[in-house]
Every structure is written in C-alpha cells, then in structure tokens.
C-alpha cells in the first residue's frame, strides 16, 4: 500500500460518520434500483417460464355456445398454430367454514389427453377424474390457501340448479389466472372468488352443453398477424354469440402482470436518480470541505513532486470508498426488500415458482452510476484543488466576506437577532449549497407524501364504491337472464328488505374509430341501492333514452354528453344502434355504461328480463338469508359487499403498509444524512467562530443554536416546498397509473402533510442534536491562537 493510500485510510477513519451518511443515502437509491430491477427480472423469468412450459395462449374469446365441430374451422384460420376450446361457467359455492356463499369459475378440462393450451401446474394432488362416484374438482391455489383446503377435502357447488358435493383432487395453477380476481375487480378476493377445473363431460352435461364450448384459446404461428386472426375468429364466432376475441395485451391476468412490471420500470429509474442526486451533492459537500482543510497538504504534495493526476486520483479514491460502502449496503438492502416484496406478490400473483432473482447486471450498473454520481460530486472540488499553485495553497484561505442578507436590505433587519442574521447571511453567501440542502430535505418530505396519498386515495375509493355507489348488502345473479317477475323470488328470500333488479348485456360501444367492449348495465331509473354517481358525488337519474358512461370511457371515446355512440349488442341477435350520451358517471375501476332497465330491454327487443338483483338484507336475519341463498338453485353467484370491501381493504393495507415503511426509512435516512453532514461541515468550517463564542461566554446550547440556526431556517423552507413537491409527485404517479382498469383519485389530507412534516422535522432535529454533540470536543484554547 502506498503511503498516500495509507493517508486515505486514516482520513476516511476520521470522516467515517460523514462518509457513512453519504453511503446510506446512496444505498437508498441503489437498494431501490437493485430491488426493482431484480423484481422485474424475477417476474419476467417466472412469467416467461410459466407461459412457455404451460403453453399460455395468445388469443382468447368467450361466446354463448358453439358446437365443437367449429374447432376445425378455427384451426384452419391462417396464422393459427393451436386451438383449445372449453367451457367456463360461474357458479355459487358452499365452502366449509365460510358462512357466506362464494363464487367459483369452473373451467372444463379436455376429455382426452392433456390440454394443448393453458395447461395446469399442480402444486399438489392430480387432475380430477371423470366418471367417479363422487365428482372431482381441481382448485386454484389462491382460493385453497385462503380457505386452508387440501386435496381430499370436499366442497359443494350449485351446478345449474343442483347442489353437488365435490372432492378436491388437487391444487392447481393456470397461466390464465396468475392474477386471480373476479372480472372487473381491481384486486383479488381469494376468500369469495376461486377458479376450479373439472372434466369436460361432467361440466358440459350439468349445463346441457355437451358437444359445445363457450371459451376459446389459441396460439399464433410464427409471423402471423394477431389482428387478422382476431378478426377471423370474430367472424366465425359471431353467429354463436361471440363476445369478441382479444390478445394477450387485453387478457386481465396478463395485463396486471405487465402493469406491475411497467410500474417497477418507472421506479427503477426515477427513485435512484433522486437519491443518487442527493448523494452526489453530499459527496461534493464533504469532499469540498475535506479538500479545503487539506489545502496545505495538497500544496505540500505538489511541491514535493506529486502530479495533478496523482493528487486528483487520491481524492477520487476517497469518494470511491464511499461508493463501495454504498453499493454493499444498497445491494444488501435491495435484496432484503426484494425478498419481502416477492412475498407480497404472492397476494396478487400466483406462479409455480416466483423467487427473488438478483439481477447481477444491475450490480455493475449500480457501481457505475453511483461512482458517476460520486465523481460528479467530487470533480469540481478536486479540479479546484489541483489547479491551485503550491505557493498559494500554502497560505491560509482569504477570510470570508459577507453582506447584509436580502431580507435585511428590505428593511426587516431590526427584527432580527445577531444569531438569526448570522444564519441568514451564511445561507446567502452559499446560495447553491443552501438551495441543494433545502431541495434534498424537500425531497425527503415529498417522498413521504406519495404512499399516504395512495392510502387516502384508496380509502376514498372504498368509501365511494361501497358507501355511495353500491349500497346493497349483496348482489345475486341468475345463471341466465330471467323474466322480470323473478325479482319476486329475490324479494321473498328471508330478511330481504329491498330488491332492485338489474340487467346486463355485452356490447361494443363505438365512437369514430375507437371501440370498447363492456357490459352495459340496466338499472332502475333512480335506484336506492346501486346508484350511478357523477363527478360531484350527485346521483344521476337514468333517462328513458340515452346512455350514461364512465368519465374515463368518454375520454377514451372522445365523446361528451349530447354526442352519440354506436352500441352493438354482442349477445343474442346482433343489433347496432345509435344512442345519445346522457351523462358521465364517476368510477375508479374499469369502464362502465348504464341505461335505464326498461330502455335497455327495449333496445334488446327481448321483453322485460333481468340478470339478478341488488338486495338490502336485514342484519338480524343474515344467517337465515345465507342458508337460503346457498340453496337457491338458479343463482349463479352471490356477491357480499362487506366481504369484498374487507378483502380489498386488507390487501391494499398490506401492500401500502410495506411501501409506507420503505419510504419512511428512505426519507429518514435522507433527512438525517443531509442535516448531519451539513451540521458537521458547518462545525468544521466555523470551528473557530464557534469556539470564540464559547470563550466569550456562550453556553454549549447557545452555540449549538448558532450552529444549527442555518439548518433550521433551511428546514423551515424545505418543509412546505416538500409538501408542494410531494403533492406533485403523488399527482404525477397517480396520473401515470390512471388506466382503463384502475384509477385512483388524488386525495391529499392534512394528516398526510402533518405526518411528512413530523418525520422530516424529527429526523432533522435528532440529526442536528447528534451532530451538535461534537461541540463538546471543540478546542476553546485553540481559538485564542493566531491563524498562522
């Protein structure tokens, strides 16, 4: 080891706490970068392996019913590689240990051999066998986990009006249900919604569908055009109630996985940039001070014949040491956080294997970018140092010159105490440093706003969705649309206080070149339970003519109230007609369209029919009601609002809780680090001044106040700035996740702001106290000595 390197080690030891503060801030950025990049790698690897090994399809379609013979024609479409047809039907379940009925989506398995597409992966057990005395089902892992089910357990389901008991043959996963949520739901609800598989013959027989299918999946030959195949499939399925084929990018499960990866990609760049920027600034402050203190040493080295390059390299190595520590800590934290997040992903995503994979390429990138940040921070200071002619460097630096601060020049001076003036003038003499310190503290405050605005936004959505829009206790749907008089059956269920019928039908809405497929809901003109609410939280009355659509849908279709959209009915007899947009509804998940029930039925030319009803149930007769619904033959599903609400709340609370903790840790580290470093540098630069004050009779506390006065001022400016910045971050992030599937309102509360201010103020105060302990070591006698 060269003697210069030995000097480096000793200097580092003397500066260890400041170097550590910089390394920690750097580590925050690197942890985020390593974590997000590794999670992307983990998700992509799990996804690609799973999709490949289990033959995930590329095009999907649902239809009313088509004969199996149509399969040959579908396979003959140019560009189609493989075709799989099946039956998928939603049923009501009676799960042991669950008072409420649950909803199950049962998919059929091929009669012979293994499925060509969307093959199952068995976690335990085996494929269900047909023609056994006891029917067998395979159950999705998420649902089985939520209920503690294992192979051999039994479960009852109502199949086409008949309650049957099934034995669970195995616990399975399917690439179609990596994200397993009820259609249109923002989050999984594994307690009340599950996916099942059973042999084709049993399922088809139960629903009088033998020899037919209602779900289609296919893959494309290399080079085939997805659009052309989708168009051909749509043409073939049209006579059979086809509801429109779609590619992977519109597959609900696949899209959620892709959305997650997209969010991670954004975070993997934005966050590290912020933290590494702050770290670069801190490196610059620490190294500038170190170089100023070592002016004479630099001069001596140069006088003795060391080259500029050697001196420069010496100080670059200094920052490299910080980088090494930062990368080590960042990697460790990134891996730990990444593992925690992978665990959290099990709440949302089910892969046969999802394990944390450290993206080793990102390690090199991490070293590179953090070294770049540190070097950028140190370059200016080193350049100034090596440029200094030795003779000049041997002399002490010229004394600092000051002038009255701007606020004083405006005439406010007489209100200020001398210590306050010192703080003001010190800030004004180094405006860039002050601004950057302020900005770093503001960033620390800002990043705290983000997770809490998510929390508050979700809280708003929960309240909006389940207190304002959906005021029913349960929603029950029929297997098939039934006559309007069926509402009487719902009303006669025990405990039902109010029942409101609804109808829905698959339609394609078109305005100009843009089309969207969705379920058009027919509701009462002005319902009491399920209501249509506008952006001002006012209930809308559904008109006798016209359609009310989501604000988001209007944005997508580029229409406004008064414009016309073309509605193409996708069920039964195909019809197309123009309907005026009568109003815009507020909603936060998916896109919706509503019509007055009778108006919808007129449109469908089917007479008065309903799909089910929204019910208000008397709480005291709840158990009785549940017993009755579990045995209701024609019910295809019962959705209990509070269960969904609770599940939603729990899932979001878990994931947001983790984010909150992470952001709080990062914000604390930045606030603590920046204040600690600023205070230590101030202490070093002003040691003589502060010692003089002590000699003149200032107490340690008073001198401490002079030392941190500047930082207190900067913090006071930074906090409101941080709140503004944080609101901007939150608004930007919420806008970027504002998609057709999920939207979040921007909710910024006083408690969110107060929390951010409290955390940063507390971290800053503790850090300043910690740094001010060094005042005890200040050399009073040294202050009396002459400068030279």
């Amino acid at each position: 080891m060269s003697l210069l390197d030995r000097k480096l080690l000793r200097d580092l030891r003397a500066l260890k706490s400041q170097a550590l503060a910089v390394a920690l801030v750097m580590a925050c950025g690197l942890a985020m970068m390593i974590m997000t990049r590794s999670l992307i790698l983990s998700l992509e690897t799990a996804r690609d392996t799973y999709y490949g090994q289990n033959h995930f399809a590329e095009i999907f379609a649902r239809l009313k019913r088509a004969p199996n013979a149509l399969r040959e024609q579908l396979a003959a479409i140019p560009g189609v590689a493989a075709v799989e047809t099946s039956i998928a039907i939603q049923v009501t379940l009676d799960v042991p240990g669950l008072a409420e009925p649950a909803v199950g989506l049962i998919n059929s398995l091929p009669e012979r051999g293994e499925a060509r597409l969307n093959r199952l992966y068995f976690r335990s057990g085996r494929l269900p066998l047909g023609q056994t005395t006891h029917g067998e089902l395979a159950v999705s892992e998420a649902f089985a986990d939520a209920h503690g089910l294992k192979p051999g357990d039994t479960l009852a389901a109502i199949l086409n009006g008949t309650k049957q008991t099934f034995r669970l043959s195995g616990i399975a996963l399917s690439p179609e249900f990596v994200f397993e949520a009820p259609p249109g739901a923002a989050l999984p609800d594994n307690k009340t919604y599950g996916v099942f598989w059973m042999p084709y013959r049993e399922l088809a027989t139960a629903f009088q569908l033998y020899g037919a299918f209602n779900a289609l999946a296919l893959t494309l030959a290399p080079g085939a055009s997805e659009g052309a195949v989708i168009a051909a499939v749509d043409r073939l399925l049209a006579p059979y109630g086809g509801r429109g084929a779609y590619g992977r990018e519109n597959h609900p499960s696949h899209r959620r996985v892709e959305d997650e990866i997209r969010v991670l990609q954004g975070l993997s760049v934005a966050f590290p940039l912020v933290f590494l920027g702050v770290a670069a600034f801190m490196t610059n402050s620490v190294m500038s001070r170190q170089i100023a203190l070592q002016r004479e040493q630099i001069a001596m080295l140069k006088a003795c014949g060391f080259s500029n390059a050697q001196v420069g390299a010496h100080y670059f190595k200094f920052s490299l040491a910080i980088v090494v520590v930062g990368v080590a800590l960042g990697t460790l934290a990134g891996v730990m956080l990444g593992r925690r997040l992978v665990e959290m992903y099990h709440l949302f995503f089910r892969f046969p294997r999802l394990e944390f994979l450290l993206d080793t390429r990102v390690l090199f990138a991490a070293v590179f970018v953090s070294a770049l940040a540190a070097f950028a921070g140190v370059a200016g200071a080193v350049r100034r140092a090596v440029r200094l002619p030795p003779a000049e460097a041997m002399r002490p630096e010229a004394p600092a010159s000051y002038r009255p601060a701007y606020a004083e020049r405006l005439g406010a001076a007489r209100w200020f105490t001398p210590s306050f003036r010192m703080a003001l003038r010190n800030i004004e003499r180094r405006p860039v440093r002050g601004a950057l310190t302020c900005l770093a503290l503001a960033l620390a405050t800002a990043i705290l706003i983000v997770p809490n605005s998510f929390r508050d936004g979700i809280g708003h959505v929960i309240d909006f969705q389940w207190d304002i829009v959906q005021r029913q206790t349960v929603t029950m749907s029929l297997v098939e649309p039934g006559p309007a008089r069926a509402i009487a059956d719902f009303r006669h269920l025990p405990g039902v206080v109010l029942a409101e019928p609804f109808r829905y039908v698959a339609v394609e809405l078109r305005a100009g070149p843009v089309t969207r497929r969705l379920l058009l809901q027919g509701l009462l003109e002005r319902g009491t339970l399920n209501r249509v609410i506008d952006a001002h939280s006012q209930q809308l009355t559904l008109p006798a003519r016209g359609i009310v659509i989501s604000g988001k849908l209007a944005e997508i279709l580029h229409v406004k109230p008064g414009d016309e959209v073309i509605a193409k009915v996708l069920e039964g007899e195909e019809r197309e007609l123009a309907v005026p947009v009568a109003g815009l509804a507020e909603d936060f998940a998916g896109t919706a369209a509503y019509m007055e029930l009778h108006a919808l039925n007129r449109l469908l030319l089917e007479g008065d029919r309903i799909n089910g009803a929204h019910l208000a149930v008397d709480g005291s007769r709840w158990d009785e009601f549940l017993r009755a619904t579990k045995a209701t033959p024609r019910s295809a599903g019962v959705v209990i609002k509070n269960l969904i609400r609770e599940g939603f709340r729990k899932t979001t609370a878990e994931s947001i809780g983790l984010l909150q903790k992470m952001y709080m840790l990062f914000a604390t580290i930045v606030a603590f680090g920046i204040i600690y470093n600023s205070a230590r540098i101030s202490l070093s630069e002003r040691a003589r001044e502060l010692a003089t004050l002590r000699v003149l009779g200032f107490t340690r506390g008073e001198v401490g106040a002079v030392l941190v006065g500047e930082l207190v001022l900067l913090t006071l400016v930074a906090l409101p700035l941080g709140l503004v910045l944080g609101s901007g971050f939150a608004s930007g992030i919420i806008a970027s996740v504002n998609t057709e599937t999920v939207r979040l309102p921007l909710v910024l509360t006083a408690s969110n702001y107060a929390f951010a201010v409290l955390v940063v103020a507390l971290a800053s105060a503790l850090s300043a106290l910690f740094a001010a302990r060094k005042l005890a070591e200040i050399d009073l006698v040294g202050a009396l000595k002459a400068l030279d």
């Binding site: 010190n426 009779g697 008073e702």
Partner: protein, 249 residues
C-alpha cells in the same frame, strides 16, 4: 458560583481586595513520560483597576496562565480564587457563566464573527450579559463610532482588533484578558489598540491583563511579571504608569 457583581467593579485602584488570588498554581498536560509541565507553582494577587503585563518567551507559560485566569482551563494543582470563589474547582457550566459575566477576551487574531457587522459583533455579546453598555457606546469608546456597520472583511486589522476590544468591554467585565493584542499589527495600529485597552482600564476600572513578548509594553503597566519555564521569575512595580504614546517604540 457566587454572584459576579459588575457594579462592584467601579472601585478605586487602591482597593486591596484582590480580584484573583493565585497560590502554587500548576498545570501539567498529559501523563507519565508524556507529561508536559506548563505552569509549576505560580503565586500572584491581581487587584481591581490594575493594568498587568505578563512577559515571556514562547512556551514560558504565560498563555497557560491567561487560560487559567479566563476560566478556559482548570489547574492540576494549587489554588485559583476569583474574589474568594474557587475558580479552579468550578465545573463547565460555572466556567461558562464566569466567562460570560466577568471576563472580556481580546485575541491576537481578533476572532470576530465574519458574518456580523462591527455593531452586531458587539451586540451578540451584550444580548447575553446582565448590565452591558450599548454596542454603539463601546464602539465609540474604542474610536470606531463611524464604522459600526462594516463587516470584518471591510475593516483593517487595527479596526478589527478595536471591535474585539469593544466587544470585550461592552459587558463591563471585571477582567479584560488580552492575548498578544498587537501581535498581528504594525506599530501605529498597535498604539491605537493599546490606547483603547488603557482607556477602558482607566475609565471602567477593569483589571486588564496583557500577555506579550514585546517588553516595550511593560512601561504602560502598573505591574509587570516575567515568566520563564512555567514560573514567575521577576515581578516589577512601575512607580508611574507610562501612557501608550510615551512608550519607546
């Protein structure tokens, strides 16, 4: 600590109650073989209104003695009484109060706060003590009435030192301790600084202790102590104090 009464400072110079009573005062830095003895048994009494000059070469112990008198350091051995109060055994908080209320310091390097103007440098101290004079008054006393709103970087060395003296006397201290106050100044500027010290000593009745290795300053003192190797080797009482302008530069 006992009350430090600024009002008791305005006493005639002949008052024989000493401000400082020093007996067998020793200060040893370090331990064992590395121990360095800076003071080895100093005895002296200093009285109100006196102007004392401590002479000695570098390392003679005069700065160490000044630090002891100023409450910046505690003795290893011996007695150090300030108006009968045991300064040598005071704790950190009491020492701070002693410095705040009773001592004015003047340093060789001025030690002004660069971010404060002359007036504010003085006001900084007058804000924390009990019966100060107005900063403007103190600055006028040292002949700087015209340059009160200048920052240290805008003042000459002599002017800066006079601001330091104004800062030291504005609190009406019982003791004014000056460590080589003219060490960094040319002769002419040095004279104006010494005049300021002498004037405050005379007009405020402050005990002034100046340490220097410039023997010429001895003529302006009431008494002169010469230190060597941590001991007082010579004490001289001037029959008549010379004014600064009479000093043989």
């Amino acid at each position: 600590m006992p009350p430090v009464e600024p009002s008791s400072l305005v006493l005639p110079a002949v008052e024989r109650e000493p401000v400082f009573q020093v007996r067998d005062l020793a200060r040893i830095y370090g331990e064992g073989t590395a121990a360095v003895t800076a003071l080895r048994g100093v005895d002296l009494d200093l009285f109100p209104g006196e102007l004392i000059v401590l002479l000695g070469a570098s390392g003679s112990g005069k700065s160490t003695l000044l630090n002891q008198l100023g409450g910046l350091d505690s003795p290893t051995r011996g007695t150090l009484l300030y108006r009968g109060w045991n300064l040598g055994a005071a704790d950190e908080a009491d020492l701070t109060r002693f410095r705040r209320d009773a001592v004015g310091f003047v340093f060789q390097a001025y030690n002004l706060i660069p971010s404060l103007t002359a007036r504010e440098n003085v006001a900084l101290i007058t804000e924390i003590c009990r019966d100060p004079m107005a900063p403007e008054e103190a600055l006028t006393l040292v002949g700087l009435g015209e340059r009160m709103d200048h920052f240290p970087a805008q003042l000459s060395g002599g002017e800066q030192q006079r601001v330091a003296i104004a800062r030291a006397i504005a609190k009406r201290p019982a003791v004014l301790l000056c460590d080589e106050p003219t060490g960094a100044l040319d002769v002419r500027t040095g004279i104006t600084v010494l005049e300021a010290i002498e004037r405050s000593n005379r007009e405020l009745g402050t005990l002034a202790v100046i340490i220097t290795h410039n023997a010429i300053l001895a003529d302006m003192a009431d008494r002169v102590f010469t230190l060597s190797d941590g001991r007082i080797v010579n004490e001289r009482t001037n029959a008549r104090r010379g004014s600064v302008s009479e000093l043989a530069w």
